[in-house]
């Protein structure tokens, strides 16, 4: 187990370096200049000289290899640099937006698990009945509904049915839990619905697979109650793929956040990313991509570890 962990951890480092290098060069191919956007976007006739002076100040006039060296050296000290747009540190820009996005992601996961576990189980138990069919259709359509559209429908429904909309602006859950939850539950549902759909399908097929296996048959033959089987054996084994899905779907969660934060006007990581790309704020894009990639890699690592822990066969191989 320890070796497994170490091996996996060591693999993370080259991957992250690869991401850092790839994103650095990828975004520098991008046409457009953050300084021009900042100084000229509102229509002022700004002289070329002023633009060049500002580029110099931000270090954008340096040769590419030097910018790259500065960036890599900064990374070794975990320094992501400063946003070219606000001049504030990238770490701070990201840190401000973490709580709200993290909470939505967490709530979406909880919603997904709360829906998927019972629905998936029922669907598997009542296989090929109308219950199973309706759960499956629900799940397949869950995969098909774009999260931003679901968000718009939710807003439309709240507005036309209750003439009410969640408050704008983030209030910490510790400060005012009611306002916080009443605002964030909607984006969490729009993102979490897809998540739930995927997990339900996984749960169902995993349970079916497991139930076909011999030891369950033996258990049933022994007359153990179906419900008990579900809890003891099947459920534990079925958790494996569900855990996998959570890891796999994490990418979708981020994607869902990017669009859903736009719909619900949430000042989170997704909106920051959209803004940063729109402005061509290189440092911030780099920082965000690295940040997201790191989380992504570690979530998958965690999933692997959980997997190994749940299923000893994997550990040994």
């Amino acid at each position: 187990m320890v070796w497994f962990l170490i091996r996996r951890l060591l693999l993370v480092i080259p991957t992250l370096i690869g991401v850092a290098v790839a994103v650095f060069f990828l975004i520098r191919v991008m046409p457009g200049d953050v300084v021009v956007v900042k100084l000229r976007a509102d229509g002022a006739a700004v002289s070329e000289e002023t633009i060049q002076a500002e580029r110099r100040r931000l270090g954008l006039d340096k040769p590419l290899y030097q910018q790259f060296a500065d960036y890599m050296v900064g990374l070794t000290r975990l320094d992501l640099g400063k946003s070219l747009w606000t001049g504030d540190s990238v770490a701070r820009e990201i840190a401000i937006r973490i709580p709200v996005s993290f909470q939505i992601a967490l709530m979406a996961t909880i919603i997904a698990v709360l829906i998927a576990l019972p629905l998936g189980t029922i669907s598997a138990l009542y296989r090929d009945t109308w219950i199973d069919h309706s759960v499956r259709v629900l799940a397949v359509s869950g995969l098909a509904i774009p999260s931003f559209w679901l968000g718009m429908l939710i807003i439309l429904a709240l507005l036309s049915l209750f003439n009410w909309l969640p408050k704008i602006g983030y209030v910490s859950i510790f400060e005012d839990p009611l306002t916080n939850l009443s605002a964030l539950i909607w984006p969490a549902i729009s993102v979490g619905y897809r998540y739930a759909a995927v997990s339900t399908r996984m749960m169902r097929s995993a349970l079916l697979e497991v139930m076909r296996e011999d030891y369950i048959r033996t258990a049933r033959a022994k007359g153990v109650w179906t419900s008990l089987i579900m809890r003891r054996h099947a459920l534990r084994n079925a958790l494996l793929p569900v855990v996998t899905v959570i890891g796999l779907e994490f990418a979708f969660l981020i994607g869902g956040l990017v669009v859903t934060e736009q719909v619900f006007n949430i000042n989170g990581i997704g909106k920051l990313f959209v803004d940063a790309t729109a402005r061509g704020d290189f440092n911030l894009i780099q920082g965000l991509v690295l940040f997201i990639a790191t989380i992504f890699i570690f979530v998958n690592l965690l999933v692997d570890i959980l997997y190994a822990w749940l299923d000893p066969r994997i550990r040994l191989s």
């Binding site: 690869g18 509904i145 990418a251 991509v289």
Partner: protein
């Protein structure tokens, strides 16, 4: 990649005389999905005959009309017919969806097969690149690619958008193709073929390729669904298709945010169009998988 998350099959396409008929009998839901896909294909090809209006024609006299006889799905703020725009929009969705899934899967399959077949350094190198690509969440990668490449249209289709959507598909397909290839390479008949001195080309063409056709087809179908969703998301963010080209995601974006509370049909129908298309491809893909992968069949 939930729709295809089960381990890919190593079986080749079932070679039964009445394959189609059997598919219809054993996978009615798949046929349902296929029929919906067919409907969209008909819409895309027959758009000028099906739609009664030019999708870009502005008619301020009919601005924001509710669904009715003249405009089945109502009109938008420019008085453009929503139904016609959805019908023409299926061209964009299918073209971008199918092309990017096809390109992404093909490149991915080649990479993955090479990785699995040759092993060693080639494998390690390809796998590191795949790891890096997989560390970018799909939409992040697509957004960066779109802003790097800008727009480049060929025959009215934005090729860079297709590239942006195809790119994140490559590593995923590569993973699947690699593991399929690995399991085939491990089989005795490959060893036999190698021992008999057959060329790489012959082994790959005659033995490996036929065996990864099934997972490839499953992946392509599944990725069409995802590509349609991703195109809609990018267009929604203003990074995909541009006005006045009819595209479903675009119809949900921008100013429609100001209008949809008073004219809900403006977002209702395009959203349904996206959902139904993705639904159909998923359903068809699922059935295809079940059918091609007998292990899952009861």
């Amino acid at each position: 990649m939930a729709t295809v998350a089960s381990t890919p099959t190593t079986e080749a396409l079932p070679k039964r005389p009445n394959a189609v008929w059997q598919f219809i009998r054993s996978e009615p839901l798949g046929i349902f999905g296929f029929l919906i896909i067919l409907l969209y294909v008909v819409c895309a090809l027959g758009a000028p005959w099906i739609a009664h209006y030019h999708p870009e024609a502005i008619d301020f006299a009919a601005m924001l009309s509710a669904p009715g006889e003249a405009h089945w799905f109502g009109t938008d703020q420019y008085g453009r017919d929503v139904f016609s725009r959805i019908v023409y929009g299926s061209r964009t969705a299918l073209a971008v969806g199918i092309l990017s899934a096809f390109i992404g899967c093909t490149l991915g399959a080649v990479l993955g097969a090479a990785s699995g077949y040759f092993g060693g350094r080639i494998d390690t190198a390809i796998q590191r690149v795949v790891d890096i690509m997989l560390s970018f969440p799909i939409i992040v990668l697509a957004m960066v690619v779109v802003s790097v490449l800008g727009k480049q249209s060929v025959l009215g289709i934005d090729t860079n958008l297709i590239a942006a959507i195809a790119l994140p598909i490559i590593p995923k397909m590569a993973r699947v193709a690699r593991s399929s290839t690995l399991s085939i390479v491990a089989m005795p008949f490959i060893d036999a073929a190698r021992a008999a001195g057959f060329s790489h080309k012959r082994i790959i063409l005659r033995h490996i390729l036929p065996n990864i056709v099934a997972p490839y087809l499953i992946m392509v179908t599944a990725f069409v669904a995802q590509a349609i969703l991703l195109e809609a998301s990018l267009s929604f963010l203003g990074l995909g298709v541009t006005e006045p080209t009819p595209a479903w995601g675009l119809m949900l974006s921008g100013a429609s945010a100001d209008f949809y509370q008073t004219a809900p049909w403006m977002i209702l129908f395009p959203g349904i169009a996206i959902t139904l298309a993705v639904f159909a491809f998923n359903l068809f893909g699922d059935s295809l998988r079940d059918w091609l992968d007998p292990k899952l069949k009861s």
